[in-house]
């Protein structure tokens, strides 16, 4: 097991190097430079432009800039935002809980609906339910998040008035963050109405962000379940006279869930990518919105360090999934 784990960790190192190169290169491949982006229509006099270039270190050869960047990152220095002048890591730490909270609820939404729906579709294979579910899942998978989010806002918040339009919590609630998770903090302060408000603010963005993972999980559960239902031990269980619920719910489900766990782990990347759009629409103060703002401002430092931090998290989650998978399924460890 330890060897398996070390092996997995060793594999992360080239990935990490690759990510620093990508993060560094991509922002520089964007047309336009940060000094002009900051200047706006005012423009910058040539002498001042050179002065600023030197100040920010953009006059150095590109490989020197890269070396400097890697050197800083390796010592845990993720730099200071060009626009806000705050340390990137500090901003990231402040904003990340919001993204994590939203992602968590999106995932809960996706699993609570996706897994039972997938099981049911597998059991009733070929039925109208199965077919319409798979059709809907395809639509969900292909849904443009931006359009879907605005549609829900206009209908549920604008027309019906059931949910708040955007934000994390009602503006009348105001407390210093403890954990940074609104739902937890409101409970820690013992404010029930704040907790309800936080939940109601989560509904729409969680649905929007959870839609793609929901579709993926439903489809994955269905196919895994179908495969398992054809196995000999399931037939044996049935032959023993066990109830259908027990066969599906206990014998089949346990094994069917193994590939689903991997799928869920892999959805973390999707969630963080989806968070960029979802957070922008719902004014959700997380790292997705932060990245978008920084790209528009050509804030190189935030973009490259933010990308790196996000990549680190996705890698960590994937590592955990790999380990969990090995725990659930011992055959993997040997392979």
């Amino acid at each position: 097991m330890l060897r398996y784990l070390l092996n997995k960790i060793a594999l992360l190192i080239p990935t990490l190097v690759g990510i620093t190169i990508c993060a560094f290169a991509f922002v520089r491949l964007l047309p336009g430079d940060p000094i002009l982006a900051m200047a706006g229509e005012h423009g910058v006099a040539p002498a001042r432009y050179e002065e600023l270039k030197e100040k920010f270190g953009y006059n150095l050869p590109i490989w020197q800039q890269y070396a400097r960047y890697v050197g800083e990152v390796a010592t845990g220095d993720f730099g200071v935002s060009i626009s806000s002048k705050r340390p990137v890591l500090e901003e990231f730490k402040t904003l990340f809980p919001a993204t994590l909270e939203l992602s968590f609820f999106a995932m809960v939404f996706a699993m609570v609906i996706g897994i039972p729906a997938g099981i049911f579709a597998a059991v009733k294979r070929g039925s109208w339910f199965d077919q319409s579910l798979m059709g809907t899942a395809l639509v969900g998978y292909s849904m443009p998040i931006f359009w879907w989010g605005l549609l829900l806002i206009i209908f549920f918040s604008g027309y019906l008035g059931w949910t708040p339009v955007s934000g994390r919590i009602g503006l009348q609630f105001f407390f210093k963050p403890i954990t940074g998770f609104m739902t937890i903090d409101s409970l820690l302060y013992g404010k029930w109405d704040a907790f309800r408000s936080a939940l109601s603010h989560l509904v729409l963005p969680a649905i929007v962000l959870g839609t793609i993972p929901l579709a993926v999980i439903a489809r994955q559960t269905r196919s895994a379940m179908l495969e398992v239902l054809g196995e000999d031990y399931v037939r044996t269980a049935r032959a023993k006279g066990l109830s259908a619920a027990r066969v599906v719910g206990v014998h089949a489900l346990r094994n069917a869930l193994i590939p689903v766990v991997t799928t869920i782990g892999l959805q973390v990347g999707t969630l963080l990518a989806g968070a960029i759009l979802t957070e922008t629409i719902f004014a959700w103060p997380g790292i997705g919105k932060w990245m978008v703002d920084s790209i528009f401002k050509r804030d190189y430092v935030v973009v490259q360090s933010g990308l790196l931090l996000i990549a680190l998290i996705v890698m960590a989650v994937n590592l955990i999934v790999d380990v969990l998978y090995a725990v659930i399924n011992p055959r993997i460890r040997a392979a």
């Binding site: 964007l30 047309p31 336009g32 430079d33 002009l36 982006a37 900051m38 200047a39 706006g40 229509e41 005012h42 423009g43 910058v44 006099a45 040539p46 001042r48 600023l52 100040k55 920010f56 200071v80 060009i82 626009s83 806000s84 002048k85 705050r86 901003e91 402040t94 904003l95 919001a98 605005l150 806002i153 206009i154 918040s157 604008g158 008035g161 708040p164 339009v165 955007s166 934000g167 994390r168 503006l171 009348q172 105001f174 963050p177 013992g190 922008t280 629409i281 719902f282 004014a283 103060p285 997380g286 919105k289 932060w290 703002d293 050509r298």
Partner: protein, 532 residues
């Protein structure tokens, strides 16, 4: 015991709730997060709304809803006859805000004023550089040419400050009403420096303005409370909240749902919906901006004014404006400056649509092909460069000129566009900073702006003489005459095609009173009230 505790908690909650009900809270759905709260270091309109216009005051202020200068922290001022020395007399007894992070021990005095400017240019000032915040550039201070014009700031006595210039510069007074010229507390700065917490100066602001800072949840909510010691009297609103909502559609839904009271910048497509709603008012004002298209006046045949006039005449401007701005509307531009600005010359008109005449001139000049530049960014003065380019291309095709559309991403676009030898016609625009005509004429078409923001590479001696003279004259009536003459020359020389001055919008709930649209594009909440 437990019961008593519960009862006490309920009582506490009830008293908090009732306290909340009586406090008047105004919620503003702002369009973006502020970079920080030190207006000397930032450049965005959203930064200024959140700092300079709420927390701070300046020596002089712009009249609410206008561009005229009125007294601020300075009750009155004198300008010496040679236009070089400005003496400001401060309002006595102005208090800096008292918060849980700073308790002032003295009133505002001349030291604060001198410090507010000194920190922006004096490299010896510890607040000028990295010791305060990394990579500080003081963009507005340098952008408004303050280092060139300011010789020194001096304290005469506690309530008198003297500013000496290197040469006469009439727009200086308007500059001092701008956001970067906000007056900060030297006492607070000294305290933070002593405590080794200098960065707090940009995150926990202290000023003399109508509202004081309470809290900022990054990228989410900013909270302010009315400043009880505000020298112009406490505001009617008790609490001011900025709910940061970047998406325009979500912003409008929020104001319609009553989640906020005021929201700026609706999408043009939503304007009809907003107008039909009975709970909100759509406020608008001609913005202090201009959308235009610069011809490179140094490259033949565009060096001939008649060719530039002909290109202008070939464009059906009315149809173009209608197609670009749709329901939002815009005022066709007759002059470089908008009609709301002083010195606007009503007798000057830009070229009328006349394709037949245009065709003759262009054929004679032999102009067959031209580059027409467009970018991807939505700007207040032009919501769609690409669409504008396509329509102009079609109009020019009708007079026998084939336009090739050149596209670049926004920052690269300006980088390429400002080059002296850039060919063809370049779409661009401008939003004014301080309401002074100099900020349009000199910034955009002075000879010294070639290669920076004079996209026409146009240097006309007569025009230049007039605007430079106007810059050095302090008498406004005299300046008006000079700018009127400059406008006549501009219209005759036509270094650019003038498109329009766009409308600026805000959506305001009906129970809000006293909110005014501002030609400078800022959002102010002093004087605003809300009926329950």
């Amino acid at each position: 015991m437990k019961k008593t505790m519960t009862f006490a908690a309920a009582l506490l909650a009830a008293s908090v709730l009732s306290g909340m009900a009586s406090a008047k809270t105004l919620v503003y759905c702002s369009e973006a997060s502020p970079a920080n709260f030190d207006p000397g270091t930032t450049t965005g309109g959203n930064d200024f709304d959140a700092s300079s216009r709420t927390v701070y005051s300046r020596l002089v202020e712009f009249k609410h809803g206008g561009t005229e200068i009125e007294p601020g922290l300075a009750d009155k001022w004198e300008i010496s006859d040679d236009g070089l020395v400005y003496t400001f007399h401060l309002h006595p007894g102005v208090k800096f805000q008292t918060t849980d992070y700073f308790k002032p021990t003295r009133d505002l005095n001349a030291d604060d004023v001198v410090f507010s400017f000194d920190r922006q240019f004096n490299k010896q000032n510890p607040w000028n550089g990295d010791k305060y915040l990394p990579n500080l550039t003081w963009d507005y201070y340098t952008g408004m040419d303050m280092p060139k014009y300011v010789a020194k700031w001096e304290k005469v006595d506690d309530l008198t400050v003297k500013l000496t210039l290197t040469e006469p510069n009439a727009p200086m007074l308007a500059n001092l009403g701008m956001d970067f010229a906000s007056i900060v507390s030297k006492e607070y700065a000294d305290q933070l420096e002593k405590d080794g917490k200098m960065a707090d100066f940009s995150t926990k602001p202290i000023g003399t303005g109508p509202f004081q800072f309470v809290d900022y949840q990054l990228d989410s909510v900013i909270r302010y409370a009315a400043n009880p010691d505000y020298f112009k009297g406490k505001e009617k609103i008790d609490d001011l909240v900025f709910a940061i909502t970047p998406d325009a559609t979500a912003r409008i839904q929020k104001v319609l749902a009553g989640e906020c009271d005021i929201a700026p910048y609706p999408n043009p497509a939503d304007i009809a919906t907003i107008k039909a709603n009975n709970d909100v008012t759509l406020m608008d004002q001609a913005g202090l901006n201009i959308g235009y298209m610069s011809y490179n006046t140094t490259i033949p045949p565009l060096d001939k004014p008649e060719v530039r006039h002909a290109l202008n005449q070939a464009i059906d401007r009315e149809a173009l404006i209608k197609s670009l701005f749709q329901d939002a509307g815009a005022t066709p531009a007759e002059n470089l400056i908008p009609p709301t600005m002083w010195s606007w010359d009503k007798d000057v008109k830009s070229d009328a649509y006349n394709p037949d005449e245009a065709k003759k001139v262009l054929e004679a000049a032999g102009l067959k092909e031209i580059q027409l530049w467009a970018s991807d960014r939505v700007r207040p003065y032009n919501p769609n460069f690409q669409r504008a380019a396509e329509l102009i291309q079609a109009d020019w095709a009708k007079v026998g000129v084939k336009a090739e559309i050149v596209n670049y991403e926004w920052t690269k676009y300006r980088e390429e566009g400002k080059k002296k030898d850039r060919p063809g016609a370049f779409q661009i625009g401008w939003t004014g900073d301080n309401g002074d005509p100099d900020n349009f004429f000199a910034t955009l078409f002075a000879c010294s702006a070639i290669g920076v923001s004079n996209y026409s590479s146009w240097c006309d001696k007569d025009f230049e003489d007039l605007i430079q003279k106007a810059k050095k004259t302090s008498d406004q009536a005299e300046r008006t005459k000079l700018y009127e003459q400059a406008q006549v020359i501009f219209a005759k020389q036509a270094p650019a095609f003038l498109l329009a001055h766009s409308q600026v919008y805000a959506v305001v709930r009906k129970n809000v009173s006293g909110f005014m649209m501002d030609p400078l594009g800022i959002h102010r909440f002093d004087g605003v009230d809300k009926a329950e």
